[in-house]
Amino acid sequence: MPDPAAKRPRPLSPNIQNYRPQLTSVLSVTNRITGLALSAGAVVLVLWLVSAATGPQAYAAVQGAIASWVGQVALLGFTFAFFLHLCGGIRHLVWDTVHGFELRAIYASGWAVVAASLALTVAAWTASLFMGG
């Protein structure tokens, strides 16, 4: 017997195209994106160390690149990504102990991660400006 459904595969109902972004999914994908960004940051860290081991000239070149406005914007981005990933990671470690799963706790800790990351980024850059001042 011919099966009409066999003519064409069943369509898949939309997933990410239609599902509303929520604090849960947004912070999860943020943790992933910041993790990817920090992987790139880890490469920069190695470049920086290798340049310092090579000599003053190479080190000055890398320091110059970091001091340029592009470098400073990237560094600001890395700082925020670092604090988001750090705070988000601590939130995950708490969950791994089977704590903080009440919906209210999930949302409270989520917003706390956002607020703490912003505050720590501002604090780090303020401190850096005073130190380097």
């Binding site: 109902s13 939309p14 917003w111």
Partner: protein, 279 residues
């Protein structure tokens, strides 16, 4: 804002959908075309628009999004009442699953204004304007709002969701203290509507292997049962990079459960148990 229970509908949302191209990664046959508008009956005063996903397997055409203008004075207070009103008064071909109309059967789960919930438990007053109604996210669609859950029930069958015991059955009941019985509270109430699994990004990308929150919650329900003697076997089945560990604690599951259960916590309990047995 802080969400305190899963039935809470946010008053304002920054983003209705992720800012991605509408058809990114969507197979040509799953793309949603423009549909038709079904106007409100003449003389209707309180009118609300509902955008509803339609798919008819007999035509061979792509899914479409129809707009129905509903006379709210003519229909009951819940979304399921709207669907009945449309089917009775406007388009008899509109197809959806329903049974109990009181949140115990799990049949009418669908994606309502971008999150999964039961149509019978969603009040019209909590819906956006226009309201958008899709079948459960990321499911093969049989017709209109009816998803094909075959794979999800096969995954459910895989965890062998029944009491497994080697001890010969006692004369009477298998005894359990009140404390032991309370360990399955918050888990045995699952009605398998699959709102959670359908809302889980990990299941979207790896649903062929990742078991998803509903099935993992069910797995924990048996791991947590003091009468069950198959914990080791069950953990062997679960411990797999995809089956269990594709869960990255996104927690869309706990956010969406219409029964207010906590699949995310159940999965964390399983991961903890796997660690406990190896150290």
């Amino acid at each position: 804002m802080i969400i305190e229970s899963s039935n809470q509908v946010p008053r304002a949302t920054l983003l209705k959908r992720f800012p991605l191209p509408r058809n990114l990664g969507v197979a040509p046959g799953s793309r949603i075309g423009p549909g038709k508008t079904w106007p409100a009956p003449a003389g209707a005063v309180r009118v609300k628009s509902f955008e509803i996903y339609r798919y008819d397997p007999d035509t061979g055409e792509n899914p479409r999004l129809d707009t129905f203008e509903v006379d709210l004075d003519e229909c009951g207070p819940m979304l399921l009442d709207v669907l009945f009103w449309i089917k009775n008064k406007v388009d008899t071909t509109l197809t959806f699953r329903r049974s109990c109309r009181e949140g115990i059967c799990g049949s009418c789960a669908m994606t309502i204004d971008g999150t999964n919930w039961l149509a019978c438990l969603r009040s019209i007053s909590d819906l956006a304007t226009p309201a958008t109604i899709y079948p459960l996210a990321n499911m093969p669609v049989i017709k209109d709002l009816v998803p094909d859950t075959t794979h999800l029930f096969a995954q459910y069958a895989m965890i062998e969701p029944w009491l497994k015991s080697k001890t010969p059955a006692p004369e009477g009941e298998r005894l359990q203290s009140p404390e032991e019985r309370s360990q399955v509270d918050g888990y045995y109430e699952c009605i398998l509507c699959f709102c959670c699994t359908s809302g889980c990004p990990s299941h979207w990308w790896n649903g062929n292997r990742f078991l998803g929150p509903a099935v993992l919650l069910q797995a924990w329900r048996w791991l947590a049962d003091s009468r069950d003697e198959a914990a080791g076997e069950r953990l062997d089945t679960l411990e797999d990079p995809m089956r269990l560990y594709a869960c990255h604690t996104i927690l869309n599951c706990t956010r969406t459960c219409p029964k207010g259960l906590n699949p995310g916590k159940a999965i964390a309990e399983i991961k903890k148990m796997v660690v406990e047995r190896r150290s």
